[in-house]
């Protein structure tokens, strides 16, 4: 098994700032917008973006929730590993809100399909957008595309993209593992 660095910590930081600016471009004051990080790994991207939006760009009253999609996945009983559930913390209503899903890697699109169903338990959003740090194009199983993407990657199915964060692995870095 070999791994190569796709994005260094510095590059990740630049990309996050760009994504934050793109969000501001479309959502200005975030009055009707809520950010929803997809558990488990999307939560790291979401927390970073929240920090940047608040600290660097002075966005106030930014709402961020974390959504777990385990019980909405389509591979229950099909996966060789038992599915691991995580905490959902959405303490606001998404009815008529502009929801932005945030995840680290967009691969087959099945997680996003599950998230689209899961979010309906909290109301009917006015619209749903998708932000992803890494977009593995050519790997999609479903017609799902991101509205905001950090870096597009052409990886084959045998390869794996791994996003590490200071919070969970001690450094910000994105690897392509063969």
């Amino acid at each position: 098994m070999s791994q190569k660095v796709l994005l260094t910590g510095k590059e990740v930081n630049i990309i996050l700032h760009r994504l934050a600016c793109q969000l501001i471009e479309n959502h200005t004051h975030f009055k009707e917008t809520v950010l929803v990080g997809l558990q488990p790994r999307g939560s790291f991207v979401a927390e970073r973006l929240k920090q940047i939006l608040i600290e660097k760009y002075g966005i106030e009253n930014l709402k961020l929730g974390l959504l777990d999609i385990t019980f909405f996945r389509d591979d229950f009983r099909r996966s060789s590993q038992p599915l691991e559930a995580n905490k959902t913390t959405i303490d606001f209503v998404v009815e008529d809100k502009r929801v932005v899903f945030i995840d680290d890697v967009l691969y087959t699109g099945r997680s996003i399909r599950a998230a689209l169903t899961a979010i309906q338990s909290f109301g009917r959003p006015a619209e749903v957008e998708l932000l992803t740090l890494i977009d593995r194009r050519f790997s999609r199983h479903l017609p799902i595309q991101p509205n905001y993407r950090g870096r597009q990657v052409d990886a084959i199915n045998e390869e794996r993209v791994k996003v590490n964060w200071k919070e969970n692995a001690g450094e910000d870095v994105v690897y392509l593992i063969k």
């Binding site: 909405f72 009983r77 905490k87 959902t88 309906q120 338990s121 109301g123």
Partner: protein
């Protein structure tokens, strides 16, 4: 997340402490789900579950059915009163006929102890024991422990007294196993006639004085006197039982600390527990009912994930 060590939930006796923790952690997630505006998840949409109740039940049957429906399973209900069991069909035949209709899981209540174990050896489906005679009622014990954990933070190290008709109670036996697995101390309290002769061999304390038992414990689980299972008189009168083993507000107020009161239901108000106690803040009876749905969702979900 790891897996359960068993393919059926036949009793607490057959599972281990890790299984209990896994069920509790999963139930935490489902408790959040059932407090959402839309309380349903699609996980079990391709699973069919048969609820076979060979004995009367309101709370448990509703709780299981709600749990199954909130997981999006297809549900068929069967009650012995209106079935071919009355025409002389055997248990295995009844269940095999239902399974021939492609049922993946069976939730069964049966008056005979060991009915679930017997069935698990003969049929090819996951079985959840929803009470077998005076043997076990595992989901009730799980939701009781889960409710203690929710109220007191932990089950380990707590002192729990089970009061009342221990002899006829499947709730008592499952609770003893579950509490001990989690490191709690267990005492049973009741008239000597309603305490099984060899109960001490399970490592529980026995006390016949209710006041002393309540003074000792952190949690009191009050059981109903199961008149329907009694062929002889075990105590002189209900009035005398209430005087000796009924929990009243004044009895609780005179204790040196505030204890938690539980009851698996149905309550005989004014017999084992007064209305004042049942409706007080010390009682977590309705929390138990709410937690029952989350626990049953967790058990069904975890067992269903093992059906390949």
């Amino acid at each position: 997340m790891s897996e359960l060590s068993v393919n059926h939930l036949l009793g607490i006796k057959y599972i281990n402490e890790k299984d209990i923790q896994l069920i509790f952690e999963t139930a935490d997630h489902f408790k959040e789900v059932i407090n959402r505006p839309i309380k349903k998840v699609p996980s079990l949409r391709d699973i069919t579950i048969a609820n076979l109740f060979f004995e009367n039940s309101t709370r448990t049957r509703l709780s299981f059915e709600l749990a199954e429906k909130r997981l999006s399973a297809d549900v068929v209900n069967f009650s012995a009163a209106s079935s071919s069991v009355k025409k002389g069909e055997t248990l295995i035949d009844t269940v095999n006929n239902i399974l021939a209709m492609k049922v993946d899981m069976v939730v069964m209540r049966h008056p005979n102890p060991g009915a679930g174990v017997f069935l698990s050896k003969h049929i090819n489906a996951s079985i959840v024991n929803a009470g077998d005679g005076a043997h076990e009622h595992p989901t009730q014990a799980l939701l009781d422990s889960y409710s203690i954990r929710e109220r007191l933070g932990d089950v380990a190290g707590k002192k729990v007294v089970i009061v009342g008709d221990i002899l006829h109670s499947r709730v008592a036996l499952s609770n003893i196993y579950a509490l001990q697995l989690q490191g709690a101390e267990v005492m049973v309290c009741g008239p000597k006639t309603l305490i099984p002769k060899y109960i001490e061999s399970l490592g529980v304390k026995v006390e016949t004085n209710l006041k002393k038992a309540l003074e000792w414990c952190d949690v009191a689980n009050m059981l109903r006197v199961q008149n329907e299972r009694m062929e002889i008189s075990y105590f002189p009168s209900t009035r005398e039982y209430t005087q000796q083993y009924g929990v009243t507000k004044s009895l609780l107020n005179n204790l040196s600390k505030e204890i938690v009161i539980m009851h698996p239901g149905p309550i005989n108000r004014g017999v084992e527990i007064t209305s004042e106690v049942a409706d007080s803040n010390q009682a977590i009876i309705l929390d138990q009912v709410q937690n029952g749905v989350a626990i049953r969702m967790a058990v069904i979900y975890l067992l269903a994930s093992k059906i390949k």
